[in-house]
């Protein structure tokens, strides 16, 4: 909210400069985000009168009708050329004589235009830097003092502070509220604007009646009536003050409501009294489907949760949000009903959201108004309106307040301050601070009995008062201590956090880069990858875009997007991974967690196997690279055995090539998968080269029995090595053969290592050669050749027959 320095100083008697005020305010929690003068560089501009039009100079290049004016100051006259359409004899306006400066340090000098000398400039608002209005020169009232400095007259020497007010402090959304904080902070005297209303003869109650039918939505509604008004532009200084804080001047009556809202924080609304049917106000819930055209010309459809201000026949305003178009103040208005009400904050917020209407009034009411501050605001506005519109305020205030609210009283123990903060300011300081902030304090007992003013709705309990005291006393005065008497606690770190860290380190060491991608992904890409609409995708109600609207059910889509981004930037080789959560619908085991979340590691490889180097080959990654990376993850989790097995028919993910991908199983349990990305998916991501991905559920791994190292006595007798080389048809998997050998359960066979895989001329088409190194060893003796030969022969026979394998060499 923008606040004027001059305006502030009407309420707090301080000599601090604006910059110093800003520096101090931040220490009480009000951040000043900018400080700027209203205009910069204007000097020597004065109020002058156009005394005569000396000469018509014809229409200039820009289409203006240029005239030579005689401009009078009390002691001197000037000849000035002006093209403004509103030039008129007798008009008082802003005059920049030679030697004066305009915004941006523009020096004004006498100039000769087509042989005629112009001694200075008559200024528009734009030329003065106060607005963008350049339709004509400034029109000042006839009582504007001739020769007076314009900057001082309009208050252009003011400084505007932009303050950021936290949502708990609606009271500080006003000039008075900020002034009160400055007063409490600096000890400078605070002056609340007390207004004596000069009332007329006619009683307001004889002109209008008010009823509240929905006191839950509107606990208090006050009004004053002002009659005999003339609508006209506000005086220049008044309009300028509004402009300075970012409000657009409209006319004297509307400007008053805005002015007082800014000054006191109480939004007001002015109805044209003549337009109110039966001169009656009823506050009630909207009827289902009820319609109202608001001030902005939009027709609004209302619902019964909304509070409406109505006359005897129809709704005339959305309570606390925006008035209706039919009853607004116009140029013909002479009598006004000025409303000041307190609205239920939650209801205002819901209404403002439902209607998409974010107004200054709603912004304040949804934070909570000052239910007792209505009358002050109303008096201030009514008197201002009568003054600026030459009207009369009717006698008495209409006030409907069915259930007056008592001010809360809270006891503050200074021991509580000490307990919470670790230190307590002297009692006198605490009392002084609270009183300066507007609290009434009974200081007679052991504890302070504090009565909370109605504008501080945020103060509800003792600790709130502790904050008030400490906030003003100064956070910098709080000492620095470490926990006293805290028990020594073991430091724990959850397993998933530790495993994620270990896995990342392993993959880093293997040359993979960690990525972090968004948890929300593109549903269209998911569908293309095989997730159907009914596969339990979790969609956001209010995504930023469709591309980021569904919670990821897998890490892979994000990684493919990363590959695509890089490929589009001429980075075709990538070895990446991500560790993060994936999301599926709630399951029984999730308890009060709304969704099922699992920690997964995802890996994606494409392009060259190794970055280019003098020693590196030019091989490209293949499915064994990605399987190896997945196995690194499994080993990092402490697993020692797993199987890669095909999916049952139709169960494979659509984004993987069938036959080039497999599930990873540990003890029969699915823990992940790996494989080559299907061509269609790859093309959808604009990826030209083959891509290999793997996914491992770290959550699943953590549920498996943890591996722990255990010492085995070192063998004392020599081992015997034998090779087993087989030529088998292509469709026989190495894993099957290994499983079969293991299945023979030969106690003396201690290791089995596949060391060669060969396809080519020597084995012929449709076949390949696989070679294992077998290690035989006994714990208690040296094996005899004959013994080993016999075992080897059994293996050769069993495997040879079972897999139609031809044994080579031996």
């Amino acid at each position: 909210m923008k606040v004027s320095y001059h305006w502030l100083r009407e309420f707090v008697d301080t000599d601090l400069a604006a910059k110093d005020i800003a520096d101090r305010l931040i220490n009480v929690g009000i951040e000043v985000t900018s400080i700027a003068p209203v205009v910069e560089g204007v000097s020597g501009v004065v109020i002058a009168e156009i005394e005569a039009i000396e000469k018509e100079l014809g229409v200039g290049a820009a289409g203006h009708r240029n005239r030579l004016c005689r401009v009078a100051l009390p002691d001197k006259k000037f000849s000035v050329i002006c093209g403004a359409p509103n030039v008129a004899v007798g008009l008082r306006t802003a005059f920049a004589p030679p030697g004066s400066t305009l915004p941006g340090g523009r020096d004004v000098q006498a100039v000769k235009v087509r042989g005629v000398i112009s001694e200075g400039i008559l200024c528009s608002e734009r030329e003065l830097g106060v607005s963008d209005d350049h339709r004509g020169i400034l029109e000042l009232p006839s009582d504007a003092p001739l020769g007076a400095d314009l900057v001082a007259y309009l208050g252009l020497d003011d400084v505007i502070l932009d303050v950021e007010v936290t949502p708990n402090r609606p009271d500080a959304l006003s000039v008075v509220g900020v002034a009160r904080e400055i007063a409490a902070l600096t000890g400078a005297p605070f002056r609340f604007p007390h207004v004596a209303v000069r009332e007329g003869e006619i009683a307001a109650s004889s002109l209008c009646t008010i009823e509240i039918e929905a006191p839950d939505l509107c606990p208090r509604f006050c009004a004053r009536l002002i009659t005999g008004l003339t609508v006209r532009p506000s005086p220049p200084w008044f309009a300028q003050r509004l402009r300075g804080v970012g409000l657009r001047p409209i006319n004297n009556l509307v400007d008053v409501t805005n002015y007082v809202m800014w000054e006191l924080g109480q939004p007001l609304h002015a109805f044209d009294l003549e337009t109110l049917a039966q001169r009656k106000i009823v506050v009630r819930r909207a009827r289902p489907g009820e319609r109202l055209t608001t001030l902005d010309g939009q027709e609004r459809i209302l619902d019964p949760d909304m509070a409406m201000v109505c006359d005897a026949e129809r709704a005339v305003g959305v309570g606390g949000v925006m008035g209706g178009a039919d009853t607004e103040v116009t140029e013909r208005t002479t009598s006004v009903l000025l409303e000041a009400a307190y609205w239920n904050p939650g209801s205002i917020r819901r209404t403002s959201r439902a209607l998409g209407l974010a107004t200054d009034a709603a912004y304040r009411f949804e934070r909570g108004g000052d239910i007792e501050g209505l009358s002050d605001a109303l008096d201030r506005a009514a008197q201002l309106m009568a003054d600026l519109g030459q009207g009369t305020v009717a006698r008495g205030m209409l006030d409907v307040y069915p259930a007056p609210r008592p001010r809360p009283r809270i006891a503050l123990r200074l021991s509580r301050v000490e307990r919470l903060i670790g230190v307590c300011p002297p009692r006198d300081d605490a009392v002084r601070i609270l009183r300066a902030l507007g609290f009434a304090v009974d200081d007679s007992g052991a504890d302070l009995q504090v009565s909370v003013p109605s504008f501080r709705r945020d103060i509800a309990q003792e600790d709130d008062l502790v904050e008030e005291v400490i906030r003003l006393w100064g956070y910098d005065k709080i000492p620095v201590t470490l926990d006293r008497g805290g028990a020594l606690l073991p430091v724990k770190c959850p397993q998933p956090v530790r495993l994620a860290r270990t896995v990342s380190r392993e993959l880093n060491a293997a040359g993979l880069f960690e990525c972090i991608t968004y948890s929300f992904v593109d549903p269209d890409r998911l569908h293309l990858m095989g997730w159907s609409a009914d596969s339990g995708l979790l969609a956001l109600d209010n995504p930023l875009s469709r591309e980021r609207s569904v919670m990821r059910p897998s890490i892979v889509p994000g990684l493919l997007e990363v590959l695509a981004t890089n490929a589009s930037r001429q980075i075709p080789d990538a070895r990446i991974f991500e560790v993060g959560r994936v999301f599926t619908p709630h399951r029984e085991e999730d308890g009060d967690r709304p969704a099922h979340e699992e920690l997964w590691a995802g890996i994606a490889l494409t392009g060259l196997r190794q970055p280019r180097a003098w020693h590196a080959g030019r091989e490209r990654v293949d499915v064994y690279d990605v399987k190896g990376a997945a196995e690194l993850v499994l080993t990092a989790a402490g697993l020692s055995g797993w199987d890669a097995v095909p999916w049952p028919d139709g169960a494979a993910p659509r984004y993987l090539e069938p036959g080039r991908s497999a599930r990873l199983l540990v003890e029969g349990r699915d823990v992940g998968s790996f494989g080559e990305v299907a061509l269609a998916v790859r093309e959808a991501f604009d990826l030209e080269a083959a891509v290999f991905v793997a996914e491992v559920s770290l959550s699943a791994l953590l549920e498996l029995p943890a591996w722990a190292p255990r010492y085995q006595p070192l063998p004392r007798y020599p081992a015997v090595q034998r090779d087993l080389a087989l030529v088998v048809p292509d469709d026989v998997a190495a894993g099957e053969i290994e499983a079969a050998i293991r299945g023979m359960r030969l106690p003396l066979l201690t290791r089995l290592l596949l060391f060669d895989v060969y396809t080519g001329d020597q084995v012929g088409p449709g076949c390949r050669s696989l070679a294992w190194s077998l290690t035989f060893q006994a714990p208690d003796r040296t094996l005899k050749d004959a013994e080993v030969n016999e075992l080897h022969a059994r293996i050769v026979k069993e495997i040879g027959e079972r897999f139609k394998a031809e044994v080579r060499g031996t």
Binding site: G346, L420, G422, G486, S504, N508, F520, D541
Partner: protein, 357 residues
């Protein structure tokens, strides 16, 4: 006493050949030929039995002396040849020691992870445990339990992604504070790292970002302790001479609330694009609101607590000089590679603040 002619012949020839041997295998061949099991000298010694008895001692002695000499010369020559051969091998297989070593260049952790782990490490050192919770949360844990009233504008401070009216993406890791406190009695000392989500996107705001929050609840925990702990943290994270300031703020779940700023380490406190008048906003903190303590079943008269929260991504951006938050989630490899020591860069490499040893 004349040397037996046969011995002399073997000896002379052997010595001459040893001198001429050009390689260790040559020398070995020669040794076998002369001294081996069926070598010349061995054969001579074996044939002693067929010689006249009176000659046996003399010839035997001479043959053994010859054997010793030959062995000695072979050993000598072997040493020389080995040295020669080694040198020859070295000069034949010249190595260029400036070639890069043979290895797979390592990858890198993401800068966010890097900073997050740094923060966790500091707090673990201060005795804080780590806890995690769900990213998809209920309104209760994310807002209501944290003293955000329904329909209160405080909720606008955190623009929220919803999955349903009651289900949302957590906007801070504070719900984990609630879950943690509900699950155990004080004392509680935890930090809560994790992803959080707010409906906001520009060059300084990402709809997904990372937080680390902290919480300490015990019988005698004060705001003075909070200040001390966070100052300690700042000095570890931003350098031993870091200056911090605390100023009032508002969070629904703390009372009093404080914002902690660190003297800008980019400009040294004179004011720059990244800071406000020389101060960087680093974290929000405060004493745990009594309503929050009551919501988890703690008695605010019995225990007090403090909490803080900071954005990890922002710290990463400040420390590494990253000016657009979107870079963090694009995962351009040229970006990610900057977080491992460069191997082939021709541009000078600087050290960030607080980095290095």
């Amino acid at each position: 006493m004349a040397v037996d002619e046969r011995v002399q012949t073997i000896l002379d020839r052997a010595l001459a050949e040893i001198a001429e041997a050009r390689s260790t295998p040559d020398l070995e061949k020669l040794r076998v030929r002369v001294l081996g099991r069926s070598g010349e000298l061995t054969a001579l010694l074996r044939s002693l039995g067929s010689m006249p008895v009176e000659e046996r001692p003399r010839i035997g002695q001479q043959a053994n002396q010859a054997k010793a000499r030959i062995e000695a010369r072979i050993a000598e020559r072997l040493d020389a040849l080995k040295t020669l051969e080694h040198q020859r091998a070295l000069s034949a297989g010249r190595v260029d020691l400036t070639l890069p070593g043979r290895r797979m260049p390592p990858g890198a952790v993401h800068p966010i992870t890097r900073i997050q782990e740094e923060i966790i490490e500091i707090f673990e050192g201060l005795g804080f445990s780590v806890a995690e919770g769900p990213e998809i949360e209920s309104d209760y844990y994310n807002f209501a339990a944290l003293n955000f009233p329904d329909d209160h504008p405080a909720r606008d401070m955190q623009d929220t992604f919803h999955l349903s009216p009651d289900t949302l993406l957590r906007t801070h890791t504070s719900p984990v504070q609630i879950r943690t406190m509900k699950a155990q009695r004080p004392p509680v000392r935890f930090i809560f790292p994790g992803k959080v989500y707010r409906r906001d996107a520009d060059i300084t705001h990402s709809p997904m970002f990372h937080q680390v929050e902290g919480l300490a609840v015990d019988r005698h925990v004060t705001m003075a302790d909070l200040k001390a702990t966070l100052e300690l943290f700042a000095r570890q994270m931003y350098g031993a001479r870091s200056q911090v300031r605390f100023r009032p703020s508002f969070f629904p779940f703390t009372e009093p609330s404080a914002e902690m700023d660190v003297r800008c380490f980019l400009c040294g406190g004179t004011g720059c694009r990244a800071c406000k008048d020389g101060w960087l906003e680093i974290l929000g903190s405060g004493m745990v609101h009594p309503n929050v303590l009551r919501n988890v079943g703690y008695d605010p008269e019995e225990v007090t607590g403090w909490a803080f929260g900071m954005g990890v991504d922002r710290v990463a951006m400040l420390k590494y000089g990253i000016d657009d938050i979107r870079l963090l989630f694009e995962n351009d490899l040229r970006f990610l590679q900057q977080f491992t020591p460069p191997q082939d860069s021709l541009t000078p490499v600087g050290r960030g603040p607080g980095e290095g040893r």
